[in-house]
Subunit: 446 residues, 2 copies
């Protein structure tokens, strides 16, 4: 007999999992649409040449490749590959529909991606990404709008303690130059700085020196970053330190964006953090990342990347995007009990039980009446001479009320309504049964 | 430069496509949950042995297989395969979680599946399936509930002219026996009968004779079916014909289900159709299919299949299910203009435009105010000295109103609001701008 587990690194999503994800996704969609972003979905697989060579050597090895079919199958060639992220498909869409898409293309996309990573706690081979991107302009208004939208999403989800760390790739470059670090060492240096909150100032110093960065430059670098991050309300000081180090003009992209975003929902959340690096090769301007206290890692991040979306067109197309860590958000919200009770309510509001086979169609008629009153109704499918099994089943599905169709009550035009928490029973007329049940369901703290 | 089309047989879903699908899916989910069904999702790929051998030779060849990774890649072996339908994953889930699932497991599942079919008009290699199944009981109440749920879904979607063709595999067997057709020829005969509405009575006769069915039996068969289908309101006659041919007892499963389903939402839709066959190998009891006038093929179908869901457990588990043709429903609804106007409304209700760079943050502040009033707001990201480009852009995104932030009006605490259909302009105070815009948006027949 074949094994029945899902494939390694993948998950079955049972009802409660899906309800939690749908709750988050609905809010994300509502907010993003209120910001004028539109949904896009692309196929699970792409022609293999669309994906290969786009994610570096390491990425290439993590791509799931699909065998050619039919007579070619024996050769072991692959012609298709599963989506590895949502950015390359977006770039393909921008190229394919360039004449149909609006001048500024603002899309969000919430779909699974697949990576043949070694599975680990919280790391899966199939997981959802939730991206929002604005294509076609270098205007910082889109950075500000993205920051506002993401803040609105997290606010609506109930996060009250998040910080948006803000930096700019151009500011970082100016900083490294000011420390006397030559351009060829910038990438290495940024990898080190990125670990500041993990390995501390001394750790960064050792790492940079081991990578051959000049000791004086390293001292200037760690000395400067020792003053950061400042608190959110010390923005002016943070910008002043930056200006003192690299000059007003070089700090301007960051101070401009800060001023712009300050009057949006993101305002109170913004933290100027020159040590934020975010895998730099990709980004060309503003970079941002969301931090929550007590949580290593982030709830999402993004920035401006002006040289990537045009990859299939052979020319640069400006773009700015943000990726919410959907799976992470769900984990944190679950741990913190942030989901409203209705998200984990049971499978139905009421279970209809009939006591004899000849009452089946009466039970179905009652179920239809109750559903017409907006109740979610399950029908225990088999005649129950005793209530033991239906009660157990109702418990397993977390159904709070039972409506029992028995011969005598039915003849009298009544239904027995049983509150499964209090075990109280009443026998209202059928015409008011839905109302009685609704009263109980609203009272039950599900 | 790589091609930028989606892989053969797959589609990119642009915003309007997604809005239409989401509209249908939301109604399906709402109705199915009102019937006590719960959502399930399974991974895109399964271990290859989970899928191989489950779909016959033809199916096996249509399965997309995924190459082993790393050092095994060169060998061309496959260890994973893309989901081919939603039934085998359901059977796996039933086996895997048998101790956690409720006694009767009622789930719906709406996810894409992948088949390496030759693409054709309306046939894709990636397409959505929308299944609902009740596992664990042989009670006909679940057939009746499925029929009711599906009828509710189609009613809520606006279908007013659909018919549910109803038959039973046991009735079919009794019929074929009554014609004198031996059991080994039943499968062939049913393939022929299934084509009745396509090739007519003479066509079926020729086909059956060519398959070696005895001429007298064929004559009995085509003679009987010539009397069908009767109209929906001639159910009693249909059942009487059946009873006359095979006896009351053999016709009982069908007459029982009809009586039971008659008092549900499905009642007025039901058509007794003994010629309905639906690829019989799979089904063991009731079978059903939805027909719409002017549409070849169906909007969905299903039935009881008591020997399949237990495939991974090595024992029979009763089950009854229905698969809505989601993609088909969307096509028909689009052709018939059945989607409400709001489904295809533009990307935003209003586009904020600012006339000079120094008004950027005022524009963002206005956008935030309008969004707080539930409006969907796009911001034209760049300062517009002339309105030509913003107007063109608003047109391409079907945005009906423009809110223009100019220096003078802003100083007076006003905003210019322009109705892009009538070209009328007004300059309300900012505090009432949202209300003015809402008035225009509600009036515009989007």
């Amino acid at each position: 007999m074949a094994g029945t587990q899902p494939a390694r690194g993948t998950r079955d999503f049972l009802p409660d999992d899906i309800r939690r994800r749908e709750y988050v996704v609905r809010i994300v969609r509502e907010v993003y649409e209120r910001y004028g972003f539109e949904p896009l979905e692309t196929p699970a697989f792409e022609n293999i040449e669309t994906l290969l060579g786009k994610y570096g050597d390491e990425g290439n090895q993590l791509i799931f490749k699909i065998l050619r079919r039919g007579e070619h199958e024996g050769k072991g060639d692959a012609d298709l590959a599963l989506r590895y992220d949502l950015t390359v498909p977006l770039a393909r869409v921008v190229a394919q529909y360039q004449n149909e898409l609006p001048r500024f293309f603002k899309r969000y996309q919430i779909q699974p991606v697949w990576r043949a990573d070694r599975p680990a706690r919280g790391r899966f081979r199939e997981f959802y990404q939730c991206d929002i991107d604005a294509i076609g302009t270098t205007s910082a208004t889109v950075e500000a709008e993205l920051l506002a939208a993401v803040s609105d999403v997290l606010g609506r989800l109930g996060f009250e303690d998040f910080t948006i760390r803000l930096n700019d790739r151009r500011v970082l470059t100016a900083l490294l130059e000011s420390f006397g670090i030559p351009a060829p060492q910038h990438a290495d240096t940024l990898v080190g700085i990125d670990k500041l909150d993990k390995i501390g100032s001394d750790g960064v110093r050792r790492e940079l020196e081991s990578r051959g960065v000049d000791a004086t430059a390293v001292a200037a670098c760690t000395g400067f970053f020792a003053g950061f991050p400042l608190r959110r309300d010390a923005r002016a000081d943070a910008l002043a330190s930056l200006s003192a180090q690299i000059g007003d003009a070089a700090a301007q992209p960051l101070s401009d964006l800060l001023a712009l975003a300050d009057r949006t929902a993101a305002g109170p959340r913004l933290l100027v953090d020159p040590s934020l690096a975010r895998g730099l090769s990709y980004y060309t301007g503003a970079i941002m990342e969301i931090a929550v206290p007590d949580l290593a890692g982030s709830l999402g991040g993004g920035g401006r990347y002006d040289n990537l979306i045009g990859m299939f067109l052979g020319r640069d197309i400006p773009a700015c995007g943000f990726s919410l860590g959907l799976e992470r958000i769900i984990v944190v919200m679950t741990e913190r009990h942030m989901f409203p009770a209705r998200v984990s309510r049971g499978a139905a509001d009421v279970m209809v039980v009939f006591l004899a086979d000849q009452l089946r169609s009466e039970a179905l008629a009652l179920a239809a009446e109750l559903r017409a009153q907006q109740l979610r109704v399950d029908v225990y499918p088999e005649a129950a001479r005793k209530l033991e099994k239906p009660l157990k089943y109702a418990g397993s599905r977390q159904v709070p009320v039972m409506a029992i169709v028995g011969e005598d009550e039915w003849a009298r035009g009544e239904v027995t309504v049983r509150d499964l928490q209090t075990r109280e029973q009443q026998s209202p007329a059928r015409s008011v049964a839905a109302m009685r049940i609704a009263e109980i369901v609203r009272l039950v703290p599900t």
